[in-house]
């Protein structure tokens, strides 16, 4: 490939090397960020320290990060399930929107129910709504060979416009002076805080979902079939694995998980439905899923890391008045370095000896 360098595929992939590469990639992106801070005339080391302090430097900051990571985690877990089968669900954003709409419908329709019934009802409707939004592209893919990337992406816009229609129209709070928002949920429809902390039970939902997905892929026959089909669709068909059913299953599951993210956001953080619920978690989820190589545990770490970055940058802005775009630059840097670093896990670079 090159006169001086030789690229060879590694035979072994020891864990320590993955760790080293990951740490190296993160350090590299932090170093570039520090340089960028210096270019703007800001103290680089203090800047990085403020970033960490804002993200993880206090109990409440960690709570903020965990809460922020919850919707990202659920969406990302869903996306990862579909990606395992090499079904490219870009529609987490829309499935999230529909989940929020479903949960809100339940909350507004049965305001008198106690929380023990209302919360499960909201979960069920959000699950069904998200799953439905995932099934549409799955059916179109199987029946009409429609590309799921395009269909899921397009369905995002439809879902968001549907949400807009509801909050600008039939669900608009009569006392909101015409502003687009539903009435505030009854207390029974709001997910409780965990003990005396700032965390809410949506976090527990993440843990349960993550564990179930892990068990599903690791120990069940269906999970095995999914992984096998994801590796090679043709071989799977030849082995008479039920590919169509698997596509339907992963898309429904994927949509349902994103739907739950919408439910958690509407219930725990906004306490109502309004257009500002859409902040792009569905797209962030795709980044997170790739960063974590589709592994449920790593998705947790990656979601927490990305949430920390977003929360920490606010502190950086507040103290040093760097532009908001700096956070996005850092996010891009980390993503690029980690993905590029993946190369060094699988390949080795050596100097070519002159013969």
């Amino acid at each position: 490939m090159n006169q001086w360098l030789r690229i060879t595929k590694r035979q072994e992939r020891p864990a320590w090397r993955s760790c080293l590469v990951l740490a190296g990639a993160i350090l590299f992106s932090l170093a570039v960020s520090a340089f960028l801070l210096a270019v703007q005339g800001r103290p680089p080391l203090r800047g990085l320290w403020l970033l960490f302090q804002g993200a993880y430097g206090s109990l409440w900051a960690i709570e903020d990060c965990l809460n922020k990571a919850v919707p990202i985690y659920l969406c990302s877990l869903g996306v990862a399930v579909a990606f395992r089968l090499q079904v490219w669900n870009i529609g987490a954003e829309g499935q999230y929107a529909l989940g929020a709409v479903g949960a809100t419908w339940a909350a507004l329709s049965f305001p008198g129910l106690p929380a023990v019934f209302l919360i499960p009802a909201m979960m069920a409707v959000a699950f069904a709504a998200g799953a439905l939004w995932g099934l549409i592209p799955a059916i179109l893919k199987l029946r009409m060979r429609a590309n799921e990337i395009i269909v899921t992406l397009m369905l995002n816009y439809i879902a968001i416009l549907f949400l807009d229609y509801l909050v600008y129209g039939p669900w608009k709070d009569p006392v909101s002076f015409g502003f687009p928002m539903t009435p505030i949920f009854p207390p029974a429809a709001v997910i409780d805080r965990i003990g005396g902390t700032g965390l809410h039970w949506g976090l527990a939902l993440c843990v349960v979902c993550g564990l179930l997905i892990w068990v599903f892929f690791r120990f069940t026959r269906l999970g095995y079939e999914l992984k096998a089909s994801g590796e090679n669709v043709r071989a799977a068909r030849y082995a008479r694995l039920p590919y169509s059913r698997l596509v339907l299953l992963v898309m429904a599951l994927s949509g349902a998980l994103a739907g739950w993210a919408g439910f958690v956001e509407a219930s725990a953080t906004l306490n109502r439905l309004q257009p500002s619920i859409m902040v792009g978690y569905g797209y962030t989820a795709i980044v997170v899923a790739w960063l974590a190589r589709l592994n449920p545990l790593y998705i947790g770490f990656a979601a927490f890391l990305l949430a920390g970055l977003r929360v920490g940058v606010e502190n950086l802005q507040l103290e040093l008045q760097v532009p908001a775009a700096f956070g996005q630059i850092m996010e891009g840097l980390i993503l690029l370095s980690v993905l590029a670093g993946g190369f060094f896990i699988d390949y080795r670079l050596s100097l070519r000896r002159r013969s």
Partner: protein, 359 residues
């Protein structure tokens, strides 16, 4: 097994990050710390820029320290940003977008010693007031200029969201245009974004395609101004004097001037006279105004506009004076009446002569 070790390594990296972050330095400052939460970047020449100009003025005041966080999404993120300001001992927090209202109310209840001011909403608490300006007055005056300058009698309006603030502004603009040109109509396009230069410019172009020859905007970027200049037609700016972006097209702008209000609030908080009120100042206080009118507008019209401005300042003229009909011809404000503040704050219908829907 291998995966678990990788996981453990990951956790190690994270715990290092934790460790770096836990040491914290407290600085004791007796200054009045004032925080601003903006919805768009301050470099946008628009809404947040106008607020930031006000912030810079109070930053110059003796013993006042200011900071801001820009581009904060309306929703849970806003709550966290305000919480962190309160935790960092800020004394006064201004949040300048409608969607910050409920998050601010939550934070205000948790931090009773911090003073909160919310722009463009309607809720108050013991330590939270709200404020806004009667931008519709300036809109009316810019509408007069647009109505006088149009030849096609189609005025294009690129607008963000169909909420009362924006609808009120479009109505005032249309009424101003009709006051000098009864045939003028206003075509509205919703972009569903406050700040997105490309979308706003495209929206302006779609209005140019249907024959609009003056483009007005309720948006935070100068995109629509540029579209008008490229097409060789006129434009009306918003937020700040946008002449620099479209020197040939820009006729006049409806502008914000927050500095006097922010100065007043800082003084009140400092000497303890601040009260949780709803402030809705108008052109008489200078919080809203129109920029210098471009020389291409005939002197006669300029004079007429400035006379009308004088009448508004002296409260001899009210923008929403009946009879005013809506798009369907139904009378909304009767002859001899003027719209009340609650009516204007909840306005969700267009006046006659506006083409578009409020949804």
């Amino acid at each position: 097994m291998r995966k678990w070790i990788t996981g453990a390594g990951f956790a190690l990296v994270l715990s290092m990050i934790f460790w770096c972050g836990t040491a914290s330095a407290e600085e004791a400052a007796k200054e009045l710390k004032v925080g601003f939460v903006y919805v768009s970047p301050v470099g946008d020449a628009g809404w947040s820029y106008a607020h930031d100009q006000g912030r810079l003025v109070i930053d110059e005041m003796e013993g006042v320290e200011t900071a801001y966080v820009e581009k904060v999404p309306e929703g849970p993120d806003a709550e966290r940003v305000m919480l962190n300001m309160a935790r960092k001992d800020f004394d006064l927090v201004f949040a300048t977008s409608f969607g910050y209202m409920d998050p601010m109310l939550k934070v205000a209840q948790r931090f009773p010693d911090v003073t909160f001011m919310h722009c463009s909403g309607f809720k108050t608490a013991d330590n939270m007031g709200n404020y806004f300006g009667r931008m519709y007055q300036a809109r009316y005056l810019t509408g007069m200029v647009a109505g006088a300058m149009t030849e096609s009698n189609v005025l294009g309006f690129v607008a963000a969201f169909p909420i009362p603030e924006v609808i009120r502004g479009i109505n005032a603009f249309a009424l101003g245009a009709q006051a000098v040109n009864p045939d003028a109509t206003v075509r509205v396009v919703w972009t569903k974004t406050w700040y997105d230069p490309a979308t706003e410019k495209e929206a302006a172009k779609s209005l140019l395609d249907i024959g609009a020859d003056v483009i007005a905007q309720h948006q935070d970027s100068p995109g629509p101004q540029e579209a008008a200049q490229e097409q060789g037609v006129y434009s009306i700016g918003y937020n700040t004097d946008m002449r620099a972006f479209a020197p040939k097209a820009h006729l006049v702008a409806a502008v914000w001037n927050w500095a006097p209000f922010y100065t007043e609030m800082v003084k009140q908080v400092r000497n303890g006279t601040w009260e949780p009120k709803a402030y809705w100042y108008g052109i008489e206080k200078g919080i809203v105004d129109i920029s210098t009118i471009n020389d291409i507008v005939p002197q006669e019209i300029q004079k007429q506009v400035l006379e009308r401005k004088g009448e508004i300042v002296e409260e001899k003229f009210h923008v929403f004076s009946g009879p005013i009909r809506d798009q369907k011809g139904k009378e909304r404000i009767a002859e001899g009446k003027t719209a009340t503040d609650p009516e204007m704050l909840g306005m969700d219908w267009f006046v006659e002569g506006v083409v578009g829907t409020t949804e």
